[in-house]
C-alpha cells in the first residue's frame, strides 16, 4: 500500500503524484478518488499535471483524454491504456493499492 496524502490535501479537482519506479497519479474528481499510472502512454508526460474534466483527465502535453475509471484513452494521440489502481482511505489518509513487488520497492 502506498501512501498518497491526506484527504484534506486533495480537494476536488486536484491531483497528486506518487513518485517511484512506476509513478502513480491520484485524482479527486468531484469527490471520487481515482488512481492511475502517472505516465501518459503516448509519450511520457505526467498525467497528474493534466486537466480534470468529470472522470477524465486530459494529458497536459498533447491532450489525449484518459478515463480515470478504466484507464482507457478516449481520443488520440494516445492509444494504449494506463494502469488503474484501487484507492483506499483510512483515518483520513489516502492509500493506493499497488502490487506487492512495487510495495516492497
Amino acid at each position: 500500500m502506498l501512501r498518497a496524502c491526506t484527504v484534506d490535501e486533495l480537494p476536488p479537482g486536484e491531483s497528486v503524484r506518487i513518485a517511484g519506479p512506476e509513478p502513480i497519479a491520484v485524482f479527486n474528481a468531484d469527490g471520487e478518488l481515482y488512481a492511475i499510472g502517472d505516465t501518459c502512454t503516448h509519450q511520457d508526460a505526467s498525467l497528474a499535471g493534466g486537466w480534470l474534466e468529470g472522470c477524465f483527465v486530459e494529458c497536459p502535453l498533447h491532450a489525449a483524454l484518459f478515463d480515470l475509471r478504466t484507464g482507457m484513452p478516449s481520443c488520440l494521440p494516445a492509444k494504449q491504456p494506463v494502469r488503474t489502481y484501487q484507492v483506499q482511505v483510512e483515518e483520513g489518509v489516502i492509500y493506493v493499492l499497488a502490487d506487492a513487488a512495487e510495495d516492497a520497492a
Partner: protein, 385 residues
Amino acid sequence: MKTVAIVGASLAGARAAQELRAQGFDGRVVLIGEEPHLPYDRPPLSKAFLAGTAARESLDLLDADDLASLEVRLGTRAERLDPATGRLVLSDGELEADGVVLATGGRARALPGTEAVAGVHVLRTLDDALALREELVPGARVVIVGGGFIGAEVASTCQGLGLDVTVLEALPTPMARVLGPELGSICARLHGRNGVTLRCGASVAGLTAVSGRVTGVQLETGENLPADVVVAGIGMVPAVEWLDGSGLAIGNGVRTDSGLVTSLANVVAAGDVAAYGPAGIRHEHWTNATEQASVAVANLLAGQVVREYQPSGYVWSDQYSGTLQLAGHPAPDDEVRYAEGGPDDDSFLATYHRDGRTVAVFGLNNPRGFGRLRRQALRRPMPVG
C-alpha cells in the same frame, strides 16, 4: 470519392489517414512518403530519442490497425500533381486519386555550402537524428547555430549528455519571434543557468574544416570557435517544389482558404506546409498539424468548407528538464503579466495582453497551472474530431 492520396507520411499525413477513417471514409487511402520509415513523430528527435532514452518504436504514429486500413508507400516521392486529372506522378509510377491531402511539411535549412562537411548536421528526420547521435561522444565540443526551439532543445540534450555546448543566435533575443522579447529572454537564460554558453548577435561567416571535417565556426567578427560537431537549427523550407506546374497557388507553402482547401476543391493541405487564410499563415508545430489534419479531411469529404481552422497556437518545448508551454498568439509588443511566480523563478505562469484582451498564455514548468489558466483566459480550442 473512391481514392484519397495523402502525400507526406509524417504527422499531418498520418493524422489525415486516421481522420479519414474516423470521419467515415471507407474508400482506398494511399499514404505516400519519401522517407523509408513508417510514419514517426519528430519532437523526440531533439529530446529523448537524441539522448538515447526513447526507442524507435516509441516514435511510431500508426499502429497495426491503422496500417491495415491503408496502403502505405514508403520510399516513394511524389513528383508532380496534374490538377486536371487528379493524377499524381510518383517516383515509382502514377496514381489516380479523386481526393488529395498535401502534407509534405518541410526540409531543414542547411548552412550554405556545408552539405559535404563531416560533423555538420541539421535535425529534421530520423536519419538526421541517428547521424547526429553517433557524433555526440564524450568530450565533443558542440556548436549550435540558431537559438530557436530546436537549437535550444538540442543544446539541452547535449548538455544532459555532458558535452560542452555553445549556442549562437544572430538576433538579440532568441525565440522572440514566437515568445516576444520578454519571455524569449527569460527562456534564453535557461541556457546559462544550465552551463551552456549562449551568444546573441553572433553571425556565422563560415566554418573551418580539416580533411573535410569541421574544426570550428568562424564568426563575422573574425573570431573562431572550435567545434567537433555543428548543428544548424536555422529553420525549414516548405516542401512545395514538386507542385510547380500543378496550378496550385504557392507562396511560403501551399496556399489554402481558411478551411485548408486549395484552389481545387478536392485538394487540401495540412501541417507545416499549409499556408492558410487570406494572410497565408503557416505554423510549424505539432498540435497545428494534428488539428489541421482533422479540419482538412472534414472539408475534403464534404466537398466544401464545413469547418474553418481555428488555431489554438499551442506549442510546447522541453528544455533542461523543464517544459515550456504556450497557447494563443502573442505579438512582440504585447504586455506580459505574471499570474503565478515571476521571471526569476524556475516555474511561472504569464499572460500576454493586447487592447485589453488576453491573447496568449505561457507556462514554465507548471503544466497543471498552465492548463487551468489557458482555459480561464482563452477560449477552449475545438476538440479534435
